[in-house]
């Protein structure tokens, strides 16, 4: 039995200790907003927050996060989280949408640490998230606009 907290709820999971966090979240806990895209930490569709840090759930064994606190797309309730989601919706960033949970989780992690990221900061933080619809123009714009919305009146670096 492995205990971890997901979106503020303590979960006792009767799972194989080497099951990746992704499949524990999706198939055992039943939260499906976190996606499978590659299984080898190349696409970022499975991005979740582990104690506030972005991690790739597809290569994180559940045993490695025992006792820790996980946030998924369903549990984004910080001001940064909801602002990023609202900005994504306002700019209609999504196309097929399959990668966007991961994109949003990466963007929220970035803006939580670095409220006014430069273009280079955005490139570095978001290049690990593939979008096959190539919505990158709007992802970049939405990160900047969310930054502005969170810190009105402060100039972009």
């Amino acid at each position: 039995m492995i205990e971890l907290t997901i979106n503020g709820t303590v979960q006792q999971l009767d799972v194989d200790p080497d099951i990746p966090l992704l499949w524990a979240i999706r198939d055992v806990v039943g939260l499906t907003g976190t996606k499978y895209g590659c299984g080898i930490a190349q696409c970022g569709a499975c991005t979740v927050h582990l104690d506030g840090q972005s991690v790739r759930a597809c290569v994180t064994p559940v045993s490695a996060v025992a006792g820790k606190s996980i946030t998924t797309i369903e549990g984004l309730d910080t001001i940064v989280g909801t602002t990023v989601q609202e900005t994504w919706e306002k700019l209609d960033v999504v196309q097929c949408g399959y990668c966007q949970s991961g994109q949003i989780m990466s963007a929220v992690a970035l803006l939580s640490k670095n409220p006014q990221p430069s273009d280079e900061d955005i490139n570095a933080a978001m290049a690990g998230n593939i979008c096959r619809c190539h919505t990158y123009v709007r992802i970049r714009a939405a990160v900047k606009e969310a930054s502005q919305a969170l810190h009105p009146g402060r100039s972009q670096s």
Binding site: D16, I19, P20, W23, R26, D27, V28, G30, L31, T32, G33, T34, K35, Y36, G37, C38, G39, I40, Q42, C43, A45, T72, I73, E74, Q85, W88, E89, D92, V93, V94, Q95, C96, G97, Y98, C99, Q100, S101, I104, I122, N123, A124, M126, A127, G128, N129, I130, C131, R132, C133, H134, T135, Y136, V137, R138, I139, R140
Partner: protein, 735 residues
């Protein structure tokens, strides 16, 4: 009837019940109330937004609209939402003529039923592709909305005892100004359902549009930013098993035998079954099935397997190109014109296999139901999939119920003429005797290696210029597998031995050159191939548009000026080209090490021009900095969706231009995942500007036409910066 012939209907009368549309087909509306079964099936399709209460008072004037007393308007969309924005676009058409408020409109996916939901450009076939969704639905969906509106107006007229002409409708509310009374759609729904279906309806003039041509919010945004959108991967049914399949390591290999003892010993594994495409391991969840498959031992019979590599295949294609192929177009006398030309140029170009690599790998959920089968899938090809699955179970196609979910990308892959992954699921369900619902999940590696690629191609071109630098001869030979051979479309799309999808964009290239010859070799190779976003144009646009730049350089002419001279009979090509060039600042000086290139191409009756700017950082490395796009797609139904498709479609082509290639080594697919099948990431995405030509022509599709234009635009920009020319994709600079 060609789509270009269709005129805007304006306020013309349309017979609702027997109206013909598109390719001369009868509209299949279930007018005057659907049967109970229709109602139930119309509620299918979890690719829906919002919550609805279905009551008996629901007003369903036809197969595409449902209005409930809670004032919700549900548009039933016959096309798959795979990112291209069709849920938003189709809903816009209905809401426009219905005069509904945009925020009261919900969307749900239609069930599989070609009698009602066929693609009007595809005969009696239901499916999505070829950038046809808006084009084939433009009149049909507006009529569906207009019919519903007319019945609501008739209901209000009856209730208020006023002439219907005195009633106005706006944002879901009907009003009679003189009497000062009003009622909402929901309040009138029950009475509207009792009104006779109108024999004819009026459609708005474009000047009356309130939604078409404006930015409306996408219908699928909220569910896709909060994680609630349901994709096939997210389906879970009671007792459902997850299946992973061990596929052959080479195309054409078969299972000789397998040892499932270790696989069955894995905790959570329920079953191991042989199917035509391999061996399936079924577990209680993905992880158990995955571990089970890892433990499975399969002995493959590779006696009939394809054992060649990409290099050997390309050498064969090059040899084939020495011989004349099947003629796709021939005008004048190219041989004579080349012989007498003042200057001749030759080039050849090699294109690799490409995987679609949608971010949601292929998957499908299926279960036996009473007397039939039920499927949950990002369903792009309802009718062929129904037929294929019905055969497996020996049932009628109408017994195959399909719930169309959101697809996590497709780029053509989910409309597979062989129904490959859907059929694989059916065989698994059959092999376990239908005892449990099955979710087939392909891993990324399965998706990359199971075939159905954009074919590898080899092009050879030769052209001649006269003494004044005018092109006088153009010869274009294409070698590559047919995506249509051995499919149900062979009769329609292979003409005189020429697969029209292999030569589209080449055989109809628009430049005015007096002597033109285009021919094709379609070698048979047992590597499964399929259409890939923008189909033939993925390779032909590059060949034509880079070679035109070569001719311009050889003639000492500006590439834009040469195109302008040769496109005088093609105003829509000219229109997008001038618009892109002007906004890109064509002709303004570029710094050393930078270059600018242009390309223009029509596909699916949509015209796109792109100007790319590149920076060459050293001899081998470059970046694409800026892309200016102009598009002419007729009436711009949803301008922001069009912009999004131009941005994303261009990006999809940029991945193929810069980095994607799938190769074979002794019959094995070399690449397996995104570490070696490279695609563009955010840090490689250029700045993009999109300009839309104002047009009153009927709308054409935007999902594909931006894709083929970027590779030649970038190549031409690199040529402009370096003087180098390119004989293969992805693009590489030589030292």
């Amino acid at each position: 009837m060609s789509r270009d012939d269709t005129m805007l209907p304006g306020r013309r009368r349309f017979l609702v019940a027997t109206v013909t549309a598109g390719a001369g087909l009868t509209l299949g509306m279930c007018l005057g109330g659907c049967s109970r079964e229709d109602k139930e099936s119309a509620q299918a399709g979890p690719g829906k937004t919002g919550n609805r209460i279905i009551s008996d008072a629901a007003f369903e004037p036809n197969a595409f609209v449902r209005i409930t007393p809670d004032d919700r308007v549900t548009v039933i969309v016959k096309h798959l939402e795979m990112g291209q924005g069709t849920y938003t676009g189709i809903a816009t058409l209905v809401a426009e003529e219905l005069d509904a408020g945009w925020s009261q409109v919900d969307v749900e996916g239609a069930p599989a039923d070609a009698a009602r939901y066929n693609n009007l450009f595809w005969g009696k076939l239901q499916g999505t592709g070829g950038s046809t969704a808006i084009a084939n639905s433009y009149e049909q969906m507006r009529k569906a909305g207009a019919a519903a509106r007319a019945m609501l107006v008739a209901a209000a007229a009856k209730q208020w005892r006023v002439p219907p002409e005195e009633i106005t409708v706006r944002d879901g509310v009907l009003r009679h100004a003189a009497k000062g009374i009003q009622a909402s759609f929901g309040e009138l729904a029950e009475l509207a359902a009792q009104q006779p279906v109108p024999e004819d309806v009026f459609l708005k003039e474009p000047g009356e549009f309130r939604l078409i041509g404006t930015r409306v919010a996408r219908k699928d945004s909220r569910a896709k930013v909060d994680g609630t959108a349901v994709f096939t991967q997210d389906m879970k049914l009671p007792g459902m098993l997850t299946a992973l399949v061990a596929h052959p390591p080479r195309f054409g290999a078969r299972v000789r035998s397998f040892d499932a003892v270790a696989a069955r010993a894995v905790a959570g594994v329920h079953d191991v079954v042989e199917i035509p495409s391999g061996v399936a391991v079924l577990g209680k969840d993905f992880w158990s099935a995955s571990k089970g498959r890892d433990a499975l031992q399969v002995d493959w019979d590779e006696s009939a397997a394809f054992m060649s590599g990409s290099d050997e295949l390309m050498a064969q294609y090059q040899a084939l190109a020495d011989k004349p192929g099947k003629v796709a177009r021939s005008e004048g006398d190219v041989s004579a014109a080349l012989g007498s030309a003042a200057k001749t140029l030759r080039t050849s170009i090699a294109f690799p296999y490409l995987a679609h690599a949608a971010l949601e790998p292929m998957n499908c959920v299926m279960q036996r139901s009473e007397g039939g089968v039920e499927i949950w899938n990002g369903e792009q090809y309802q009718t062929p999939d129904q037929n294929a699955v019905a055969k497996v179970f020996g049932i009628g196609p109408e017994k195959v119920k399909i719930n169309m979910l959101y697809a996590g990308g497709s780029f053509g892959r989910r409309a597979n003429p062989a129904s490959d992954y859907v059929l694989e699921t059916a065989h698994i369900v059959k092999a376990i005797g239908g005892k449990a619902p099955v979710k087939l999940v392909w891993t990324r590696e399965d998706d990359m290696r199971a075939g159905y690629y954009r074919p590898m191609y080899y092009h050879r071109l030769e052209a001649g210029l006269d003494a004044d630098g005018n092109p006088v001869a153009w010869q274009h030979r294409i070698v590559g597998q047919s995506i249509i051979a051995d499919t149900a479309f062979e009769g329609a799309l292979v003409k005189d031995g020429v697969d029209v999808t292999s030569v589209e964009g080449a055989a109809n290239m628009p430049y005015a050159i007096p002597n033109i010859h285009v021919d094709l070799h379609s070698p048979q190779v047992p590597v499964p191939v399929q259409w890939w976003r923008s189909v033939g144009s993925t390779h032909t646009a590059f060949a034509v548009e880079t070679f035109i730049d070569r001719l311009a350089a050889a003639a000492g002419r500006d590439p834009l000026a040469l195109r302008r001279a040769l496109l005088q009979d093609h105003p829509r090509h000219l229109g997008v080209m001038e618009l892109a060039a002007e906004n890109a600042g064509w002709g303004t000086p570029m710094a050393a090490g930078r270059g600018r290139g242009i390309a223009v191409h029509e596909s699916f009756n949509t015209y796109v021009a792109q100007v790319a700017e590149v920076t060459v950082h050293d001899n081998k490395r470059f970046t694409v900095d800026r892309v200016v796009i102009a598009v002419d797609c007729g009436v711009a139904v949803n301008p922001d969706v069009i912009r999004a498709q131009m941005e994303g479609g261009m990006g999809f082509g940029l991945s193929a231009a810069l980095s994607s290639a799938l190769t074979l080594d002794a019959g094995r697919v070399v690449q397996s995942n995104f570490h070696d099948y490279l695609v563009v990431r955010l840090d490689q995405m250029p700045r993009v500007e999109v300009h839309i030509v104002k047009s009153a022509q009927p709308p054409t599709g935007v999902g594909e036409p931006a894709t083929p234009v970027i590779a030649p635009a970038v190549a031409n920009a690199l040529s402009n910066a370096t003087g180098q020319h390119f004989d293969h994709l992805p693009l590489t600079l030589s030292a």
